[in-house]
């Protein structure tokens, strides 16, 4: 990754983080913690990797991204707005009556949203379906899914994991946003999903472990996934929940609480 690209992506990631803070602040509710932890992964995907045509959201050759941890909708909306799918001002309508920016992504209302999510555990299976269709139709699009580490407690995640390996879905890659926290506490205390790496390996996946805030590592992991044939790749990304906003970082309480106006101001200042 050259310096120019890194700077570009860093700037995008900052913009996305600022949007997350602004929009949850304006909404007065929502999930900043898990949105911020995923910001760098989403940035690399949307501003470097995914082949998309924002002016033609339904273009059938596009790469697909399924936000399985749908409560992180703000990070997706921020990226889509930045990408030009809709005006950035609209971000401030998040969670308001009549808004296209529903509390959890609604594919019917907002262009660029590939799947309606919000009920945890369901996204990977849907991504599998997209990947299977791609193979069936000889299309070269790739499918990405983003899961939470708490989400990995859902049985359906492992049903889908088994199926993706069984059907050798090498056109699919999953990210696990491994921020170590869920709602009721640290994932290892609530219901440990560890050892995550060994589990995914045992399910037949190619497993990569990276620092989920290191843009270069994210980028190389995606490259390696693309080169991996015959099986799907999972990228276990070690992240910090609330990353980028000092008072939110690694705080379980910032899972589903919006910043107050003065906290928005402080957070935006930190992100400058």
């Amino acid at each position: 990754m050259n310096a120019e690209l890194r700077q570009q992506l860093e700037a995008k990631a900052r913009e996305i983080r600022k949007s997350i803070v602004r929009m949850t602040g304006a909404a007065g509710s929502g999930h900043p913690g898990g949105s911020l932890s995923a910001a760098d992964i989403v940035t690399v995907l949307y501003f470097h990797e995914l082949r998309l045509k924002p002016e033609e959201p339904d273009w059938d050759g596009r790469d697909r991204f399924v936000l399985s941890k749908g409560h992180a909708a703000p990070v997706l909306y921020a990226a889509l707005a930045e990408k030009g799918y809709f005006p950035k001002e609209e971000l401030l309508t998040l969670r308001k009556l009549g808004s296209r920016l529903q509390g959890h992504p609604d594919l019917k209302s907002l262009p660029g949203v590939e799947m309606s999510t919000g009920s945890l555990g369901q996204g990977l299976a849907v991504a599998n379906g997209m990947a299977l269709a791609g193979k069936l139709d000889n299309k070269d699009y790739r499918v990405y899914a983003l899961l939470g580490d708490g989400e990995c407690q859902e049985g359906m995640v492992w049903e889908a994991a088994m199926a993706a390996a069984h059907y050798r879905l090498d056109n699919l890659a999953a990210f696990v946003d491994h921020n170590g926290l869920q709602i009721d506490g640290p994932v290892t205390e609530v219901m440990s999903p560890e050892p995550l790496t060994d589990k995914w390996k045992a399910f037949g996946w190619h497993v990569l472990s990276i620092d989920g805030h290191d843009l270069k590592q994210i980028l190389s992991a995606i490259e390696e996934a693309k080169k991996t044939k015959g099986r799907p790749t999972v990228i276990i990304a070690k992240t910090v929940k609330g990353k980028g906003v000092s008072f939110m970082e690694d705080q379980v309480g910032w899972h589903g609480v919006a910043p107050k106006p003065e906290q928005v101001t402080q957070a935006l200042a930190e992100l400058e």
């Binding site: 007065g28 808004s99 309606s116 945890l120 555990g121 869920q182 709602i183 009721d184």
Partner: protein, 313 residues
């Protein structure tokens, strides 16, 4: 008027129940703070099990605990309890008729800003369709606390439907809830309003508004939706000749359907249903959503007049 969320009353009641009955155990699925089972967790950590984000396992584990003499209360949001774990509830709880209490919070539109994916509007319908299941939708905090104790005292599966925001307290401490018994909150001769959950206090307001227009409306709190108090429904249908039902649920399959089934079989009179008209919800504040989807005093008044007009047809 004092407002208490039924989920708060549930959390409080669980702690009291846990003190009296050592067989009571509580399970949650990473939402203990929201469902208010955290209160029980903090008091009796050894009798609390967080199952993580795994609702099917939550229900299955509760079934095993019930088979071993415990009285499990399993909690999560209504959509995940009755949606994700529906078949576990049917086949591992209701079919073997196990003593599992499913206490689900954040039911209905008043979930608010989380939007449609989190707003259970079909849970009453599916729970009602399962044999052996008792379905309770308390109207306020007082009734909730009593329903928790009644559920614990009842042998067999119970679905307790609870909400997120505060709702007006309509009952005094002398009120006695009984499973399967509707409560006539207000007598009336011209039209009967049959409501459940948060719609009970709104139906009371509607009855006041109707009174101001010279229309005498009865209000019946149908807090047990199954087994339905058929006697009370038939009685009300006979004395008023027209019914309006009100529920925070799809009008298909819920309270309105249950009432209409009884009325159609025993004493046909007009029954009009107020509820969500077979659409998904969306993000918004609870108040905005109730207004947007017609779960209002005004709507009940309008339907009451329409029901009365239909009597003479």
């Amino acid at each position: 008027m004092t407002k208490i969320a039924t989920r708060d009353a549930y959390g409080k009641a669980l702690v009291r129940l846990g003190e009296i009955n050592k067989d009571v155990v509580v399970l949650d699925a990473d939402l203990a703070g929201s469902t208010k089972t955290a209160k029980f967790r903090d008091k009796y950590p050894e009798r609390f099990f967080n199952m993580g984000i795994a609702e099917q396992n939550l229900i299955g584990t509760a079934a095993g605990l019930a088979l071993s003499g415990k009285i499990p209360f399993a909690s999560t949001f209504a959509i995940f309890a009755t949606g994700r774990a529906f078949e576990q509830i049917r086949n591992s709880v209701a079919y073997p008729n196990l003593n599992v209490k499913i206490a689900a919070t954040h039911a209905g539109l008043t979930v608010g800003e989380d939007g449609a994916s989190h707003q259970a509007l079909e849970d009453i319908a599916v729970m009602r369709a399962v044999p052996n299941m008792t379905v309770i939708v308390p109207a306020d905090g007082v009734e909730t606390e009593q329903a928790v104790f009644a559920a614990a005292g009842h042998q067999g599966p119970v679905y307790l439907r609870l909400g997120r925001p505060g709702v007006p307290v309509i009952y005094g401490e002398d009120y006695r809830f009984e499973i399967g018994k509707a409560n006539l909150l207000r007598p009336g001769k011209q039209v009967g309003l049959v409501a459940a959950g948060i719609m009970v206090s709104i139906a009371l307001e509607a009855a006041e508004a109707l009174q101001a227009e010279g229309i005498d409306a009865a209000v019946l709190n149908m807090s047990t939706i199954k087994p339905l108090d058929e006697e009370a429904v038939i009685q009300l249908a006979k004395t008023t000749g027209a019914l309006v039902t009100a529920e925070e649920h799809n009008i298909l399959g819920g309270l309105g359907s249950a009432v209409a089934e009884v009325v159609a079989e025993h004493c046909p009179v007009p029954v009009l249903r107020v509820g969500v008209e077979d659409v998904f919800g969306q993000s918004g504040t609870p108040g905005e959503l109730l207004a947007e989807y017609g779960l209002t005093k005004e709507k009940i008044v309008e339907k009451a007049k329409e029901a009365i007009a239909r009597k003479s047809l």
